[in-house]
Assembly symmetry: C2
Homo-oligomer: 712 residues x 2
């Protein structure tokens, strides 16, 4: 947390503001921003600046910011982009201006020329020690009643509330505020980040950590400026604060970039999508798939407590259909529907009609009125097995929705520590009921699926918060050996580390590798094969041959001298043919033949933006067919390594199917951590593939059968 | 189409109705139904029946239906369940009553006693030749202006329109009508099916096929009464009619039933979920995951043409954010965003600002007014590469949403053959704009994700309609051989068919099986191995040994006489030991060793409800880990077999990865059809597993390596 969130505080809670480009023209952004500041009830001083006006919206207008005879904390700039550098320079000259919001567009987003302009304003800001929001943004909003500042051109001031909203896109920000209005949602802060020339999501996360008015953070993300910092800041907020705050994020821009010359499988499989997935997983950020989900989950987190551990969800409905939908949805997302205690069931049986279903989801039948809901809910929520409850209602003649809203509110007050969600499946004539629920912080959903998923998301957040904490381990390794190998590779003008060299590197970092020796003659090869013990593998070793199998350079499972000698001759012949005149054949590697394990792949690709991205997955041909792989940014902790394995289907295979013994999962956990350490220690490693890592039965470890390393 | 849809016509378009259980008590269902019939503007005669009233809602009330002096086409019954049989009996006695809607609950859904009651009313109805809707339903609605009948206790008459709604749950039906009201959706017919004592979804499908007022069918399904009939009727509607009608279905009740003693992999993997998945796939039904999706897609189908083949979607937006969301969503669902023609791009460049993005999704920038939308849309929709268009708008100062609605309507009229969807991402103050769009049949979505998925669903429907039609093939087979095998198995009091017998069965149906011979002595075994050719496999053959591998009864890849002899002795010894005193060892099978193919599994399990369910998937250990399997109800056509393969990830493997040659997919297509024929011919087959079917390179066929059959 080394970002000084104070500088942001002074930016978002300024005592005085100058609006550069303020305007009287009603259709202009300058007019809209002025109006928003004034009608939003801004508590500080406001100075419009525009060379061509004397007064703007009744306030004295200055020709230039330097003319303002008072202190200015914050400048809001809405001039054409080409004059922004000059205007910003004037802010600097004026002195005392701590920050500027640059709403103007026409920078990086329009191409090379805009980028030059953007670099210019960055330099100006830096020179004068000013922070920047934007450019190309719609500004920000701080609903704190002490500030009450709408420094943006949205439509009016949103309601004050517990949710912070961060959007990279201005248009999405506006659309979200509109939609939030319909759902009566309140915000603590709203930021449109635009081009992020200076202020970015990480600055805001640092600020939100200390912002008592923010309980939930919503993010619309197109890209992240620093993945590792994001992990650090976000996981701090989501998991380490005393009052932990969930972060909900919609990440867009997922089109895969065509990859050029990638030497490893990891390289081919590790795109930026995977990096983002890893980053969110490692920071406890709850990723959603649609804008609508952002809202659905945000109100749940903002209004209700996270469901406690050890119990699960109860459903009380006046119809079987929606109850079935919830049961399906729960099973889809592994949400546990509570088994009610015998006491609860027996109490329910006393008050409910015979045709009611007392097994959760509880169906209190279509003729239920609000009193039957109330009596049922009180019994159900008393049950210690129930931590959360979805109250479902379909329009029925006997049921007054407003009375049901009142019952829901009453029950919610009686059971404050339990999570209560409403699902009124009606639309017309329930406006009052919905308003009452909103006012009393009871999340309401039109569809049972959305209510269920909201609970699922809360449960998944709870697991994150409750996860065991582990550290990044430091294994004893021999770094110097690795350094020597890489020096040799570089001295020979190579990037590609030969298999034997790669094995040496991995051995230095504690991986188990098969016994292996380089031989140059048939006799030597036969002799060494005896020493290593049959069966053995022969592999050609030549700087010219990368794909050994393709040229007939590998022979497996050789069981005796005869087979070894024949194989040696074939390999040499094939290699000579494929090398043509090059004649720099080094020899043939004799290796212990390793078999009878599960083939896994572990690897790393250095992401150009985020750094080393570790991969784990099922090896062999299946890695391409099933893409059953998982990723994490290095460095990883033990828990992260374990999660990498658990999040693949291959983990089932490792636990043993069809009565097989389980594999040595601990050995993979350790291997992943050792690889993490290796790639953190040697930033020149661009790609690594251990494919396969042969994993044996539990307790019997694993061995690297083949490995590739590319260095820079 | 052997259901007489005429009888349903007279049910839903009756000339006269008696309401048995009509009431003056305002909170009663009997009152609600009467009110709905009257205020819905029913065109026929209406007779309330209630022993304790003289007039109901101003109409003369009869004590008993038999007292009515006029003809009655339809009876609506709302009495307590225990008197329903008697009341229905009276309907029969009255004579001429063609059908009854039984709204009363308290039948099958409450358990054994209710089931007895339900069987009773079924018998009564049958005796008098009356059709039934319900019981335990909310009735039906026919908005046809010639009938205008709301024979239900929903809240008022829905708007007339092109959508038919069928819901098994009454509560969901009511909730859906409520929600539809908000979205201004109109219905042709609405049916709440309840317990389906008589009338079920298949009757309705038969009727919808001929119902000109219905363009789209929405279904909320808890179960199907007859899967194969459903496939027949549904696929007729969705794919064969002149005016094809899409069916959108939400299927709930997906909890898996614990399976008991299942002998095959197919058995373990083929649950009722898989059967439903197969049924929907085979009938072209578009399955949705949530209620909300039902509406999202319904309006698209009801209002707009299905996008034409060969082109794809264009997006016109005034902001980059939502355009990116649509691009992401499209790539997630493989929706093609059109590459605009050079002409289009050049025309756009003339009218749009320099900062606009001319590459689809087209961003016409935040300051766009409705005229810029109009000009852009006209150019874009003229492009022959564009078949559908999503018009996205975020709230911006320069844009009046009502004017944009008008532009959208104008463009929609100019390009009637193209699919146009609106996505106004605003809420407040756009009520008029939305109403205009609704009136003019332009589907409107609040979220870009929903608009995109609507187009995806339409495209997927287009592929179904355009699919090549194939027939169920009849291969030449020798049925008698199979019959003889099964007779022998049965005569020995077995259900389990031995491997050798199973091979014989499959051979009779044209499968390729390895050369194999039963031997009883070591010498004979050695001799036959020579004849078959090395390498060979030995497998124990004994009626007592089901799991041959477990007892050491299988030896693979034996390369010479020595190995065969040793293996023979080992197997005999192991078998003797495992059989104990039983001593009914038959011998040892010598088999050709088949290798170098891809291991697939094909199988069948007879579903208790829907009949033979065929399975295809990746064989070996991976079938359990990845569940990469697909299902179809037999009989299947060639296309169905092809789809089964294509819908697995294993199909990638079969196409050849990492430069491998493709496998003989045609041979699998044929094998699946042959298995389909086999299980249709022999209804005693309960389960079959061919695991593995070894599939060789393209053109080289496949071989059954192991097979299990269980008969009844």
């Amino acid at each position: 947390m080394n970002i000084d969130s104070m500088s942001i505080d002074s930016m978002i809670s300024p005592a005085s503001i100058a609006v550069l480009g303020a305007s009287n023209r009603k259709s202009s952004v300058g007019y809209a921003v002025m109006t928003n500041i004034i009608s939003g009830g801004y508590a500080g001083k406001l100075y419009p600046v525009n060379p061509s006006s004397d007064t703007i919206q009744g306030l004295k207008c200055y020709k230039n910011i330097v003319d303002i005879e008072y202190a200015v904390d914050l400048a809001i700039i809405i001039t054409p982009s080409n004059v922004v550098p000059q205007v910003l320079e004037e802010c600097g000259k004026k002195g005392g201006v701590k920050a500027a919001v640059i709403i103007s567009a026409g920078f990086k987003e329009i191409g090379e020329q805009g980028k030059i302009l953007e670099d210019k304003i960055k330099r100006v800001a830096k020179r004068y020690g000013m922070r920047l929001i934007g450019p190309n943004c719609i500004g920000f909003i701080n609903t704190d009643p002490k500030v009450s500042l709408n420094a943006s051109f949205t439509k009016g001031m949103p309601k004050s509330g517990d949710i912070a909203l961060v959007s990279q896109s201005g248009a999405i920000c506006v659309a979200m505020l509109e939609y939030a209005k319909m759902r009566n949602m309140g915000f603590s802060k709203v930021f449109s980040l635009g081009n992020k020339a200076d202020l970015n999501e990480n600055d805001l996360l640092a600020m939100f950590a200390n912002d008592d008015s923010t309980k939930v953070v919503l993010m619309y993300i197109e890209d992240l400026v620093d993945g590792r910092k994001f992990i650090e800041f976000a996981s701090h907020i989501t998991g380490e604060l005393e009052k932990k705050k969930p972060i909900l994020a919609l990440k867009v821009g997922e089109s895969t970039i065509g990859s050029k010359s990638i030497a490893s499988h990891t390289g081919a499989l590790a795109g930026s999508q995977e990096a983002y997935k890893a980053i969110f997983a490692q920071s406890g950020v709850l990723r959603v798939e649609t804008l609508e989900e952002l809202f659905d989950y945000a109100i749940a987190f903002a209004y209700q407590p996270i469901p406690k551990d050890g119990g699960a969800t109860a459903v009380v409905s006046n119809a079987g259909g929606p109850a079935t939908i919830i049961a399906d949805e729960s099973s889809k997302y592994n949400l546990k529907l509570t088994k009610l205690s015998e006491k609860t069931v027996s109490e329910l049986s006393e008050i409910l009609p015979k045709t009611a279903s007392l097994i959760n989801p509880i169906d209190i039948i279509g003729d239920a009125d609000h009193t039957r809901y109330e009596n049922t809910l009180r019994i159900v929520l008393k049950d210690p097995n129930v931590n959360s409850c979805i109250i479902v209602s379909t329009p029925q003649m006997m049921l007054n929705m407003e009375s049901l809203a009142d019952v829901t509110i009453k029950i919610n007050n009686e059971f404050k520590e339990k999570t209560i969600l409403s699902c009124m499946m009606a639309v017309a004539g329930i406006e009052n009921a919905l308003a009452r629920l909103d006012e009393n912080k009871i999340p309401q959903y039109s569809f049972p699926e959305s209510a269920t998923r909201a609970i699922v998301t809360m449960q998944s957040y709870r697991s994150w918060v409750a996860r065991p904490r582990t550290d990044v381990k430091a294994f004893e390794v021999t770094r110097d050996d690795v350094r020597r190998v890489f020096e040799k590779v570089r001295s020979q003008g190579r990037n590609y580390v030969h298999e034997a060299e790669a094995m040496e590197v991995l051995k230095s970092y504690g991986f188990h590798i098969p016994k292996s020796q380089l031989t140059t003659t048939e006799d030597e090869c036969a002799k060494l094969s005896e020493e290593i013990g049959y069966p053995v593998v022969l592999k050609v070793s030549s700087p010219n041959i990368v794909h050994k199998t393709d040229v007939g350079g590998v022979e497996l499972n050789l069981k005796n001298t005869l087979e070894v000698r024949e194989a040696f001759r074939r390999i040499i012949e094939n290699a000579r043919r494929s090398e043509g005149d090059a004649k720099i054949l080094v020899g043939v590697n004799v290796q212990e033949f390793v078999a009878n394990g599960k083939e896994m792949i572990i690897g790393m690709k250095r992401d150009p933006q985020f750094g080393p991205l570790l991969m784990f997955g099922l090896g062999g041909i299946y890695v391409q067919v099933f893409r059953d792989i998982s990723f994490r940014l290095a460095p990883i902790k033990e828990l992260g390594a374990r999660h990498m394995i658990e999040s693949t289907r291959a983990s089932k295979l490792l636990l043993g199917v069809r009565g097989e013994k389980p594999s040595d999962i601990e050995s993979i956990v350790e291997s992943l951590q050792r690889m993490s350490q290796l790639v953190m220690d040697f930033s020149e490693i661009q790609e690594i593939d251990i494919n396969p890592l042969l994993v044996f039965e539990q307790g019997k470890g694993s061995k690297v059968v083949d490995a590739r390393i590319v260095i820079s």
